[in-house]
């Protein structure tokens, strides 16, 4: 199945490259879904190196699998250390992984917080519908780690595939609360973010890795992310700088 996904992806990339005047300068960027807004901000900035990047967003795990399957990637920004470590161990890294930003967990609730959710403990209320990310995806693992560290047991009604899916359930009013990244909760005015101190127990770091499949094209992108322009864009979207 991955082989098919990879072929489809290659076709899209080839099509995208073919339509560009600067085909030799186009670099493919793979990034965790939670980075979609910030990287799109950058690619809309004419002076940014990301203008000429072809970007693909998905969960870090499935992007990492596509790298292993031979997708022609220049830069990979993962929300999960484990994926990066595996790629480095398999020899895909051009240089050491770099931390480009940090994030934290929050409780997303309906705008105005009508149920008055203030603490992590409130999530155990029996009348409350809770959505979390599925175990196995990074957000799910982080959420579980936070709840475990706080020794709180919750009964979610659904385990969603990624952060945006959790957020969508809150935005649509199908659940009362969801555990998401702070950056997701600040991306829409339809939800309010409840910050909880227990979130400090999990360190959420975004790692960028230059990938060997298209060597020599990704340095400019990585430098921009770590530089003034990139860090400013990250701050504006609610990330915490490393």
């Amino acid at each position: 199945m991955h082989r098919v996904v990879q072929l489809l992806f290659a076709a899209v990339v080839v099509a995208a490259c073919g339509s560009s005047d600067q085909r030799s300068e186009t670099t493919v960027v793979f990034a965790a879904s939670s980075l979609v807004d910030v990287l799109n901000d950058l690619s809309n900035d004419d002076e940014s190196a990301f203008v000429r990047a072809v970007m693909s967003f998905a969960s870090s795990a499935s992007l990492s699998a596509q790298v292993v399957d031979g997708a022609p990637v220049g830069l990979f920004v993962s929300a999960d250390r484990q994926q990066i470590d595996e790629l480095v161990a398999a020899g895909y890294g051009l240089s050491d992984p770099r931390v480009v930003a940090r994030n934290s967990l929050v409780i997303a609730v309906e705008a105005g917080n009508p149920l008055g959710i203030q603490t992590l403990d409130d999530l155990t209320r029996s009348d409350l519908l809770l959505a979390v990310a599925a175990p196995g995806v990074p957000l799910g693992e982080y959420s579980e780690a936070m709840l475990r560290a706080a020794d709180i047991e919750v009964s979610p009604v659904t385990f969603e595939a990624d952060a945006r899916a959790v957020l969508a359930k809150v935005v649509l009013g199908e659940v009362d609360a969801g555990i998401v990244y702070a950056t997701d909760a600040t991306s829409t005015s339809d939800v309010a973010a409840v910050y909880v101190p227990e979130a400090d127990a999990v360190a959420i770091e975004y790692f960028a890795l230059e990938i060997t499949t298209t060597p020599g094209r990704s340095s400019a992108l990585l430098n921009e992310l770590l530089g003034e322009r990139g860090q400013q864009a990250l701050l504006q979207r609610g990330f915490v700088l490393p």
Partner: protein, 270 residues
């Protein structure tokens, strides 16, 4: 290709070539999947409670979906094929639109109508405390919305194709409209109804986008096999491949068995 030409001597070369390419197009991905599947861990994955739970849920919900689709879809197909109700073209288009909608959009549409804040869902929630999303009935509703058009279209063309002579004879002899429908029309189009039911079942079994959007993902209640596969892709690609293969084999066995036994009759009956 030479063997093919020998068996079907009347097939024009162009058709044989294009048809064979079409076959390769369908076989290749399945073959590639079968090659990559780590068959050695088949027993582990089959013994995995989470997998069998998802498998059972998929079978149960897809069968319920198919039954409901027949109960409501056959009458709808009859209305579309035989009645003279106004706006039939429009109704047909609307009732089969969900086939071409991206399934995730279908899921959002279901939330907008039957969700806790949906047009009808809100009333259900307020009046009788019924909440559909994240429940097993929501899985069936999502499958039904996406898969029932396959039954409606197949059965409608069956009704349209079957001769009305026997029906007229029955009416002349004083049979009631219901008697004509149940004893003459339905038996005459049995193979089309079965074909439509099988298509609907297969589509329901594979349903993913509308289900995860409308019903979410909860083990034992809404985590169907396609959803389990998708999530396994995040954690264990080998498991995902095995579960996909399980689905492919399950569908293949049933499609082949049914086609051989009943559906093949469509071509012969015509």
């Amino acid at each position: 290709m030479t063997t093919r030409a020998r068996h079907e001597q009347r097939a024009p070369l162009l058709l044989a070539v294009l048809g064979t390419l079409a076959v390769i197009f369908f076989v290749l991905p399945l073959f590639a999947l079968a090659v990559r599947v780590p068959w050695s861990s088949l027993v582990d994955v089959l013994g995995n409670e989470a997998t069998t739970e998802a498998l059972m849920l998929s079978i149960i919900t897809s069968v319920i979906t198919t039954a409901i689709a027949v109960i409501f879809g056959v009458p709808l197909a009859w209305l579309l094929a035989r009645s003279t109700m106004p706006g039939r073209q429009m109704i047909r288009a609307i009732c089969t639109l969900s086939m071409v909608l991206p399934p995730v959009v279908a899921g959002v549409a279901l939330l907008a109508s039957l969700g806790r804040r949906g047009v009808v869902g809100q009333l259900l929630n307020d009046w009788i405390g019924l909440r559909l999303p994240f429940t097993m009935p929501a899985v069936v509703i999502a499958q039904l919305f996406v898969a029932m058009p396959f039954l409606v279209l197949t059965v409608e063309s069956g009704f349209a194709r079957s001769s009305t002579t026997a029906e007229e004879a029955a009416r002349t002899l004083g049979a009631s409209p219901w008697y004509v429908f149940s004893r003459v029309t339905v038996p005459a189009t049995r193979s089309a109804i079965l074909a439509g039911a099988v298509l609907t079942w297969a589509r329901a079994l594979g349903e993913f986008g509308a289900t995860i959007t409308f019903a979410g993902n909860f083990p034992g209640a809404t985590r169907t096999l396609p959803i389990a596969t998708y999530l396994a892709l995040e954690t264990n690609v080998d498991d995902a491949l095995l579960i996909s293969m399980l689905m492919v084999m399950l569908s293949l066995v049933i499609l082949v068995a049914l086609r051989g036994r009943w559906i093949g009759a469509i071509g012969g009956a015509r």
